[in-house]
Symmetry: none
Subunit: 231 residues, 2 copies
DNA sequence: CCGATTCTTGACGGGTTCCTTATGCGCGGT
DNA sequence: ACCGCGCATAAGGAACCCGTCAAGAATCGG
């Protein structure tokens, strides 16, 4: 990388929010590129090659989701979505289109920065770590297809395993119901969200210290689930 | 090996992704050869003899699957497949054609490198370790095609031998039904999982101390089998 | 051509996994 | 307060997978 400071692209039409974002991010040491429209954003993404993109869904010219799609055609860079409250629908569409995470307007600086850090970390991290998930009282070895609980081996069924693998692939980020269902059960069951609840419970029972207060397998109401491992 | 750094062949038509791959791989210390077309790729594979090949399925001139077939005709080098999201069908075809693993576009650097390392590790294993399996009460010499049980020689049938060899090649990892069947019986019997149960029992009867509670030949329900040797 | 080994095929019981159905709970909207 | 929606949880039966036995083909060496 030419520069040590990560570059972040902001695609946001409202000047208020754009400037707020720039201020917050530069204060943290990030370099910032701003685009006020969707078209401009897709161009800036290719020319500036940022390390991360923040995309508002409510753009005047080009749908934010379309922006995400166009970036995803050629780059795996982390994409953070900013959406107005209540627009669950487009939030999900954005994630399905390839976004990595989202924040809901209005949001605090802390939340935003946390997500940015998480997204950047995940973009680089996996290269160093092996494919072993380390939870509080349990571990899951994705490559060897093995799991332990308090040191002892435990069994995961094929579906349970695929589910963990799918969540682990997007560690720390939201995975939509649709994504999980199509990857684990196939496209024909893309709407059987009920399956998820059942198997998520199984995973929590087997891997969480307290299945009732899950720390790792978090549910994102109306959207999907998220797998989190502490540092 | 002439060089310590493994050489990797990239067969990919889109310049963006090709350069992204080169950058990521060279940064990790790999040597890289690029081919922009399928035909070029098959040629470069023979001339450069890379340690691993990364093949995009969506090539303009020659189907990526055809590239895999042609390489597989003469080389067992690990082949990593890159495919666009949603093309489940060709992904499976690719694996059947002899590919070792796949990543879906768009993918992160970490994921890619992890798979590359895994693939290279699998490839190096059998050559570095000696080819003698030491189990609790039995040994299997894969090179000399011999086996002992409690010190005395025992006979393994050809199929039994191929089965052990296939499991030993992926020591400690699960080998899927499909993999075992295609490697031992050929692609036409890829679904006759029944064979596996029968021959697995034979192996356990001959090599396990207690065939009913197998310690080395473990079954992974719904997925495949795994060969484990204690340290 | 015959016998022995090996491979294939069929059948059955037991166990696990998976799907279905049903119920309760909490939250937000009307 | 009521209702609807999404989520968590429980439980039973169906489907599937595995291990096992046994007997019929195929193969091979003599």
């Amino acid at each position: 990388m030419a520069e040590a400071r990560p570059a972040i692209l902001i695609v946001e039409d409202e000047p208020e929010i754009r400037h707020f974002l720039r201020a917050s991010l530069t204060a943290e040491g990030y370099r910032v590129v701003e685009s006020a429209t969707g078209r401009r954003g897709t161009i800036d993404a290719t020319t500036h090659k940022p390390d991360l993109a923040i995309v508002d869904l409510g753009l005047p010219d080009l749908d934010g989701i379309e922006v995400i799609r166009r970036i995803r055609e050629w780059s795996p860079m982390p994409i953070l979505v900013v959406s107005a409250r209540g627009h669950e629908r487009s939030k999900i569409e954005a994630l399905d289109a390839g976004a990595d995470d989202y924040v809901t307007k209005p949001f605090g600086v802390g939340e935003l920065l946390a997500r940015v850090r998480a997204a950047l970390r995940h973009a680089v991290r996996p290269s160093e770590g092996n494919s072993v998930l380390r939870l509080e009282h349990a571990t899951v070895d994705l490559e060897r297809r093995r799991a332990t609980r308090d040191g002892a081996d435990i069994r995961l069924t094929p579906i349970e395993f695929r589910l963990v693998a799918c969540l682990a692939k997007h560690l720390g980020r939201v995975v939509t119901h649709r994504q999980l269902l199509t990857e684990v059960w196939g496209p024909t069951h893309a709407k059987d969200t009920h399956y998820l609840r059942i198997y998520m419970k199984q995973l929590r029972d087997k891997l969480e210290a307290d299945p009732v207060q899950p720390r790792h397998f978090q549910t994102e109401t109306g959207v999907g689930y998220r797998l989190v491992v502490e540092e």
